[in-house]
Subunit: 194 residues, 2 copies
DNA sequence: GGTTAAGTTCAATCTTTTTTGAACCATTTG
DNA sequence: CAAATGGTTCAAAAAAGATTGAACTTAACC
């Protein structure tokens, strides 16, 4: 077998500088409520000059294939990394998204908005409950209405603010509010490059 | 013993309407990465017309004194509730902060800023590591420098943005980014009312 | 001062989330 | 087609986080 397809050097462990990047993103990930492994992976990709293959992620970070697979999927879903297909190599390579405004903007749309919409339904139910019990509640009904109403107002302001935030995203960058991506809905899971 | 000090009615369980509020805040709390019990407590207080005592929180929600104590402390620290001292009653009462801009603003200052400052130190270390290894790194050094630099830039923009966000807070209201309050630093732990 | 009530602390327990690893599926290669 | 490679899935193990409850502290009351 001619050793034609040059497997990259595949250093078995991390350079101190890489470790530094990984550390940074692990810290960020955990403060943001994401699994540590996701931070590790993103750190490695972010530090890397060239796209990194699945098996390299596993080997360099010393994490299981399972973690790597799930972590890379999550990062891909939220648009933090993209897949790069390299001609002549069967493996998939991954590349960190470094234009953070895109990252941020996508997170905003796909994570925040659904939450806020969820809230809105929630508040609707609450308001119904109040009305159902309004008679029995007597004067308290007014109080409850007003509290529920203020929830609604906040929520709607936040919702209205989303597009604005989106414009500001270049500034708000490198941290994302809360646990992203609970839901799903298929989107195009690919982006190609040679 | 004369039943002089009128313990409030102390309904043992929650009215459906209260349950609705509690549900809402439990949902919010968990999506934001806060313990469920904290959501329950805040929901109860938010729904209540009058300040609520510690033991009432315990009894109405059916949680342990430990949880109630810790939850109320957290909520107090982040400024989401304030303590109310009622003359003639030995117990401490708690009142939900309903002016959300204050809540938000405080969270911003006390939770976000420390994180960002932590990041900044972190990036400093990273940059040092890069310089220490610059020679050995050769041309890669430039690449690492530039990646680290972009981290720094994002972080500084975010930091610079804090005051601005603070002004916008009336809009950004009812959700707080990430796990609040890891650190401490004594602040005035009281606010009084009769 | 002694008793009681209010509230806090913290180790042990319960719950939830992450990670692992082995079994599996899908492609490619010879 | 069989063997090998790349990668995913998912049940079980491990780790992290939340909750409880009992012991403890502090202050009030008589």
């Amino acid at each position: 077998m001619p050793e034609s397809v040059s497997k990259p050097p595949l250093a078995e462990s991390l350079h101190p500088v890489e470790t530094g990047f990984v550390r940074f993103f692990v810290h960020l990930a955990t403060t943001v409520g994401l699994p540590r492994s996701v931070g590790e992976i993103f750190g490695l990709l972010f530090a890397s000059m060239a796209p990194v293959s699945f098996d390299e992620v596993v080997a360099r970070l010393g994490i299981s294939k399972g973690s790597a697979s799930q972590g890379l999927r999550l990062l891909t879903q939220i648009g933090a990394v993209s897949q790069v297909y390299v001609r002549g190599d069967r493996r998939t390579f991954y590349l960190a998204e470094t234009r953070m405004r895109q990252l941020f903007s996508k997170a905003l749309q796909e994570s925040l908005r659904p939450h806020l919409e969820g809230n809105s339904r929630h508040i609707g139910l609450l308001e119904e409950t109040i009305e159902e019990n309004a008679a029995a509640l007597g004067p308290a009904a007014g109080h409850y209405r007003s509290r529920a109403h203020s929830l609604r107002v906040w929520n709607e302001k936040a919702l209205a603010l989303l597009p604005l935030l989106d414009m500001l995203s270049p500034l708000l960058a490198p941290f994302l509010p809360f646990n992203l991506v609970k839901s799903d809905s298929a989107s195009e899971p690919d982006s190609k490059t040679s």
